[in-house]
């Protein structure tokens, strides 16, 4: 069977929908931790709810990916670059899981139930554990920066393929 030249529609929808969501989450996170403005509380609540939505989406996305035929990278690409490309995608998935999980864990150990769009609340510890809160709080902050760096590399890679190598990699996701 020949490999497809394009990502299936479901994967493209997940990719661009979640790309927008993750960039919005990162921006909201970085702005809200600095802000003393009245909107801070609203953005914080939306951040938590959409972050949990992202966790649900990335789980569905992973399941979907495992059931799809992926387009092959160009044959002209050295094996090592292919390996790096693959590893970077695994890392992106890892971080898309680690961000919401660390976010929820920090709230859990700080004893702060998370309200999801006013529909329901997720449980928190009855007794605060400041040590575990700190662990996950710092993790959330550090992993966020790692994710920003990786996304920039990822975009640079896509543009490199399109503009310099002039291959079909970017088109395969459009």
């Amino acid at each position: 069977m020949t490999k497809p030249t394009r990502f299936p529609l479901s994967m493209r929808l997940f990719h661009w929908g979640m790309a927008a969501l993750m960039l919005a989450m990162l921006t909201a996170g970085l702005l809200m931790v600095k802000s003393l403005e009245p909107w801070q509380l609203n953005v914080l609540n939306l951040h938590k709810a959409f972050g949990l939505l992202a966790l649900l989406l990335v789980s569905l996305r992973l399941v979907n990916r495992l059931r799809q035929q992926l387009p092959a990278l160009p044959d002209s690409l050295p094996a090592i670059q292919k390996a790096i490309a693959r590893a970077s995608h695994y890392l992106l998935y890892g971080l898309m899981f680690a961000m919401p999980l660390s976010g929820y864990a920090m709230q859990y150990f700080a004893g702060r139930p998370v309200e999801v769009f006013g529909w329901f609340r997720l449980p928190a510890a009855l007794e605060v554990n400041i040590g575990l809160y700190s662990l996950f709080r710092e993790m959330h902050g550090i992993l966020a920066l790692a994710l920003v760096a990786l996304i920039m590399l990822h975009i640079a890679g896509a543009l490199h393929h399109h503009v310099i190598r002039k291959d079909k990699v970017l088109k395969s996701m459009l």
């Binding site: 003393l36 403005e37 801070q40 914080l44 004893g111 928190a124 009855l126 700190s134």
Partner: protein, 332 residues
């Protein structure tokens, strides 16, 4: 079209100047990090709160009489008893500061109602703020740190501080934490089971007076309250003031008229004390925006600024404590 003429120039200038002076009145925006840096000051007390650093843990229960239940669906307002963890503190960044020198005394409460319902409250002795927004509050703290002259100048430039100054002029510190009144200062909305909303402020009203101080030294208040609670429970009435349509719930510098309806929701009863580092209140962030169903935040700019600042202070001290704990265990 109008021709540009010489008469327009002065008009333009006045416009520019008035825009300039309006800008001078709007304080520069500060971030949560800058705010906490200022509170922290030049001497760092690692592992302690950046504000209200000195305090002790208390435990106790809220005995609700059910009077507030028609206004809020929060479970603790049904008639019954709900335990809490609390913290009595004094304002300031220094965990060893002399108790009797602090201008503000505080009580914070944490109700762990269920896995999905938590309520944190942090209350102070003044009934109102001197200023209405966090950026002006930053300037007030700068003035306090600069000394008595700077704060006089600050108050003169901020007429909105008049109710606060009137309170401060007549306030006599009690001889005990048990004799103070602790105010929410900021307003909140109570939401009942029909979804109706009522703006409120509340105060914990003392049931005892303590005119003289039985202890002295840096820990006078802590010693006094520990001795008092060892003798028997300390009781406050939890009194809610209900706003009228004409009251502004988003301005913490203005008290509502004394004629507003008040509801006594029951009694806050303190039954135990413990040193803060040896008990469970130290690890809690008493962020007043952690609310159960049945209570909502108003848009008061002071209230809305608190969550991010408390989180920044909590993050810093938690990290210091976590690293300290790691270092200790690596020495074992």
């Amino acid at each position: 079209m109008m021709q540009p003429n010489t008469l327009m120039l002065p008009a333009l200038l006045t416009l520019l100047l008035s825009a300039g002076s309006a800008a001078a009145k709007t304080p520069p925006k500060v971030s949560a990090q800058q705010f906490v840096d200022l509170q922290q000051g030049n001497s760092l007390f690692a592992g302690f709160r950046r504000a209200h650093a000195k305090g002790l843990c208390v435990s106790g229960e809220f005995r609700s009489n059910g009077e507030l239940a028609p206004y809020s669906s929060a479970s603790l307002f049904k008639a019954g008893v709900t335990p809490f963890v609390g913290r009595l503190s004094i304002a300031g960044n220094n965990p060893t500061a002399p108790d009797l020198k602090a201008p503000v005394r505080s009580l914070a409460l944490s109700f762990s109602l269920s896995r999905t319902e938590q309520w944190r409250l942090a209350m102070n002795t003044p009934p109102v703020m001197a200023v209405a927004d966090p950026h002006t509050f930053y300037q007030q703290i700068q003035a306090i740190q600069a000394g008595p002259e700077a704060i006089q100048q600050f108050f003169a430039a901020h007429p909105e501080s008049s109710e606060f100054r009137t309170w401060a002029a007549q306030y006599k510190p009690s001889g005990s934490f048990a004799g103070e009144t602790y105010h929410s200062i900021n307003a909140f909305y109570l939401i009942n089971s029909d979804g109706q909303q009522q703006a409120v402020r509340w105060a914990l009203m003392p049931t005892v007076t303590a005119d003289t101080m039985a202890f002295d030294g840096d820990n006078a208040l802590q010693q006094e309250i520990s001795a008092r609670i060892a003798e028997g429970p300390v009781v406050f009435n939890w009194v809610f003031t209900l706003a009228d349509a004409s009251d502004d719930e988003n301005n913490a510098t203005k008290a509502w008229p004394a004629s507003r309806r008040q509801v006594n929701a029951g009694q806050i009863v303190l039954t135990g004390t413990a040193a803060q580092l040896e008990s469970n209140c130290h690890g809690i962030n008493f962020d007043p925006l952690v609310l159960p169903s049945g209570i909502k935040a108003t848009a008061d700019p002071i209230l809305r600024a608190r969550s991010a600042a408390y989180a920044e202070s909590y993050r810093r001290r938690a990290k210091e404590q976590f690293q300290g704990a790691l270092e200790e265990s690596s020495h074992d």
